[in-house]
């Protein structure tokens, strides 16, 4: 009870997670029972995103700074931003909707993780008082969201190769959905590049050099290289469709570790210890 009073964002956070849970159940129910569930999934996503936006706002008012520092804040803001990006994708690209089968369970995993973290606040370092932080974080979140949409679709396509997913065979052909997967990856590459550029501009004035090979920069660059390599590999070699989808998973795992692992396992300046 006392933690709820101290952290008024928690009920809204758990409400948002309940929304994602509802959406995930609806998506999987639609596949198992062969029922039309797009509207239900969309509504659940929309409600979850609104609740999470409220949670972020309340926390912002309490802490006096945006969700940029602690792992709790970063998971909270990503639960919101990834949900928002997927909501837009779900709305504007119907062909990508089956990806909800994979994307929404990923949200739930993030939700389980955030539930184990203390909602403590911190102090925003002076170097974070920069418009470039917003640009860097903003395009980074779009990158991860679009990459997750590609992973969702690739995961669904891999799922339908497994026994027991007969209803998925009524989706469009592998080749059609594969084109969409790689379109998402291409767009993700653009936003990842913009994230690196904005981060370099921010770093130049925040820490005196645009690139210092700190752990976060190093792993972000390796993710960018692997993303570029996967786009090149698909063009150059006859990579089987499933091989390409596994590459998509590989890039996402690298990006995921860069976003949620590296900043909290190293003493880099991005962690805020300055």
């Amino acid at each position: 009870m006392s933690s709820l009073l101290l952290a008024p964002e928690l009920p809204w956070l758990f409400g948002g997670l309940a929304g994602y849970c509802t959406g995930a159940l609806a998506a999987w129910h639609g596949i198992w029972r062969d029922r039309p569930v797009d509207r239900a999934v969309f509504a659940a996503l929309l409600v979850a995103v609104i609740l999470l936006a409220t949670a972020i706002t309340l926390r912002w008012m309490r802490a006096g700074y945006g969700p940029f520092l602690t792992l709790f804040e970063i998971l909270l803001s990503n639960l919101f931003s990834l949900g928002l990006v997927f909501l837009v994708v779900f709305w504007r690209v119907p062909l990508a909707r089956p990806g909800a089968l994979v994307v929404l369970p990923v949200f739930l995993l993030l939700g389980c993780w955030i539930a184990t973290l203390p909602p403590e606040t911190s102090q925003l370092p002076a170097t974070y008082d920069s418009v470039w932080l917003w640009v860097h974080v903003g395009v980074g979140k779009i990158f991860l969201g679009i990459c997750l949409a590609a992973v969702g679709l690739a995961g669904t396509l891999l799922l339908r190769r497994l026994p027991g997913f007969g209803n998925l065979h009524r989706l469009p052909d592998d080749e059609v959905l594969d084109v969409l997967v790689w379109r998402f990856m291409s767009i993700a590459f653009i936003f990842h590049s913009l994230m690196l550029i904005a981060g370099a501009v921010w770093a130049q004035d925040a820490w005196g050099h645009y690139w210092t090979w700190d752990p976060l920069e190093t792993w972000a660059f390796i993710t960018w290289l692997m993303l570029g390599l996967s786009l090149h590999a698909r063009l150059t070699f006859k990579v089987p469709l499933w091989g390409g989808w596994l590459m998509v998973f590989g890039v996402f795992i690298l990006a995921f570790l860069t976003f949620f692992g590296v900043p909290f396992s190293s003493l880099g300046p991005h962690k805020g210890i300055i």
Partner: protein, 345 residues
């Protein structure tokens, strides 16, 4: 001859070489991440191979040359590599400590890394004077905003004060001066030699408040005698509340130790020595600056941005030329509103 040269260029331009090049670069990045001293070769070799591969592709790959946006992207990629390499060779990373009232002196600069093409004499053209400074701390000794005033000579307005700090550097002659967390107190000493020589200088004590427990330093006097100096500051205040590092303490004394002697001086007091007198004038603040010189930084940013925009243009054109199958685009979403089940399409 020309044919064999083209054959070689065609082989060098192969996309099949790009992939091992990218993998080698990733390995090079990982190696230099683990061992900074090994970074140059591990990064330079794959980058050189990739640059040659890209240059060859730009000459012979019709797929790239026939698509202007893709061509611009790859040209920009090459430009970024070249600009970053030139920047690395001509760059400077250095640091300097300047006391309030003191003018910047290139001779005081401590080099961290200097590229072989860096025009060192250029640093002599930098002129500014350190003014007052202030660093705010939140409770728990968490550093907040830094404001450092510099007096800069302006051709029109004379000497003007400018404030830098945090994300705002002072830029002069292409050098960027950044405030750092390194700052502290200086003891201003005047040497009055028996030969009539008078010299005033500053002794900087270790960074404060990080080293508030150890405000000592060594100094060799004009007569060659070694002294150990200790700045006696009031007991550190509680750092559990807001605090600012912005003024010298009202009560500060300097203890000078040499041989078996130990003399405590208040500001204005004089110590009589063999060849002259040493006067402790006052305590001031000093600020540590990080200096960087990257002459082509704006061009690097420009090339990177143009490259990304060109690639976005290329992708957009590709998507438009290869539309998704009819019945699945967003315009048809009403007819295909349930794609998760997808049975009705």
């Amino acid at each position: 001859m020309r044919e064999s040269a083209m054959k070689i260029i065609c082989r060098l331009a192969s996309l099949r070489l790009t992939l091992p090049g990218l993998l080698a670069l990733a390995v090079g990045v990982l190696v230099s991440y683990r061992d900074v001293t090994a970074s140059t070769a591990w990064m330079a070799v794959p980058l050189l191979c990739l640059a040659v591969n890209l240059l060859a592709a730009l000459i012979v790959n019709t797929r790239i040359r026939s698509r202007p946006a893709l061509l611009v992207f790859h040209l920009c990629l090459l430009a970024v590599v070249l600009l970053a390499t030139y920047g690395h060779l001509s760059s400077l990373q250095a640091r300097v400590e300047i006391t309030e009232g003191q003018a910047f002196n290139a001779a005081d600069v401590e080099m961290v890394r200097e590229g072989p093409w860096h025009p060192r004499q250029r640093l002599d053209s930098v002129v500014f004077v350190q003014g007052p400074l202030r660093v705010d701390y939140a409770p728990g000794l968490k550093r907040q905003h830094t404001a450092s005033q510099l007096g800069i000579r302006d051709a029109v307005a004379g000497e003007v004060l400018t404030t830098i700090g945090d994300n705002t550097p002072h830029i002069q002659a292409g050098y960027r001066f950044y405030t750092t967390s390194n700052k502290g107190y200086s003891a201003i000493l005047t040497w009055l030699g028996s030969d009539g020589v008078r010299q005033t200088g500053a002794i900087n004590f270790p960074s404060y408040p990080a080293n508030d427990w150890n405000q000592t330093n060594q100094w060799t006097g004009p007569a060659g005698k070694h002294f150990r100096l200790e700045l006696d500051l009031p007991r550190p205040q509680s750092f559990d509340r807001h605090w600012a590092f912005d003024a010298t303490p009202a009560v500060a004394a300097l203890t000078i130790m040499a041989d078996d002697q130990r003399v405590r001086l208040e500001p204005g007091e004089v110590l009589q020595l063999e060849n002259g007198r040493l006067q402790f004038e006052e305590v001031r603040l000093w600020m540590g600056y990080r200096i960087t010189y990257e002459p082509l930084l704006p061009w690097l940013l420009f090339a990177a941005l143009v490259g990304v925009l060109a690639l976005a243009w290329h992708f957009l054109a590709s998507f438009n030329s290869l539309p998704l199958p009819e019945g699945y685009g967003h315009r048809e979403r009403k007819e295909n509103s349930d794609v998760i089940t997808a049975a009705r399409t």
